[in-house]
Amino acid sequence: MPKVTLRVNGREVSGEVEGRTLLVQFLRESLGMTGTHVGCDTSQCGACTVHVNGLQVKSCTTFAMDVDGAEVTTIEGMANADGSLSVIQQAFQDHHGLQCGFCTPGMVMAAAALLKDNPKPSEAEIRHHLEGNICRCTGYHNIVKAILAASGQDVSAIAAE
């Protein structure tokens, strides 16, 4: 079987895959990293969002062999080195940016990609950026609030709505 080698959260990993093995299958089933979720498996929901070479992608719609050699960051790589929550993760907790939590890994990865390119996004920019991430609890309001807070911006206006 073909082999792929990736750097996942800074650690070099490799494993055998089939041509049709999706990146998310490789992460979850070969590496046992189940933080990245499969929600819809049809490229709609964004629960499987990870970063490949710094870019946000849906790992259920990317073949493992197509990203051979890439740097991959997953939700498991988001906490600080000492294990404490990152600013974005802490903001999700502080602002109740999750209910059931299933979409949260994808939401956090999407938020991190947004804030890297746009450190002070407006509420509208945040909502536009989250178009590919579905929260079935429909908790978008607090997710947007958490991302605003993580970017160091005032959330009182949106909190009053």
């Binding site: 049809t42 849906k58 073949f63 178009e131």
Partner: protein, 262 residues
Amino acid sequence: MYAFEFKRPKTLSEAVAALGGEDAQALGGGQTLIPTLKQRLAAPATLVSLNGIDEIKGICTDDQGRLCIGGGTTHAAVAKGAGAYPALAALAANIGDPAVRSRGTIGGSVANNDPSACYPSAVLASGATVVTNTRQIAADDFFQGMFTTALEPGEIITEVRFPIPQKANYQKFVQPASRFALVGVFVAKYADGVRVAVTGASSNGVFRWTEAEKALSANFSAKALDGLKASADGLISDIHGSAEYRAHLIKVMTGRAVTAAG
């Protein structure tokens, strides 16, 4: 998904050779093809990824002033790098969602010719040239109906060359679940006239609205459309909108595009 052999060539010539095999299929960003494979609507023996071929990625300007975009260039890269053609950059910045834009490519979108995709409208309205590993194809000859193009089996889009218009704008009425265009209209004004291309509306794929082109070439103003009515013949009717509704949207979105183009 059925099993297949996965190949990831580094050069165009290797990709062309790999696509010469039996039941070989090219893979662009995969944002349409991978869901299609999961549904078992396609079952290639070999999948040839074009994502490792650096020579078909990137954006430049040729000696005729055209913006040349490599077939393997992602929507995100076009959104950032096509500043010389702002309407095109804006179109790319609003395809799908950010994750789709990180992977999806212009060559993949144009080759697939989804009747609701954004890019075909820009290619057709700009009178762009689709360059492949074997030839150059004018946009007017390239799109041949829903999911159908002039491409031969195994032919690879290496570049799309866009003449830069004086004014242009793309307006998309989004189908909110899929983010595809329920109706999208790209208007481009050149020194020799205006071109209007409509996506999302017709069961025959992207098409030019020639009556609007004539009216707008005489007077580039939304008012010039007042007496016109897009025909509902051959338009898509589905749960998201009737053919008559799509015909109505064509005129509304064309008017908005003209106004936004200034």
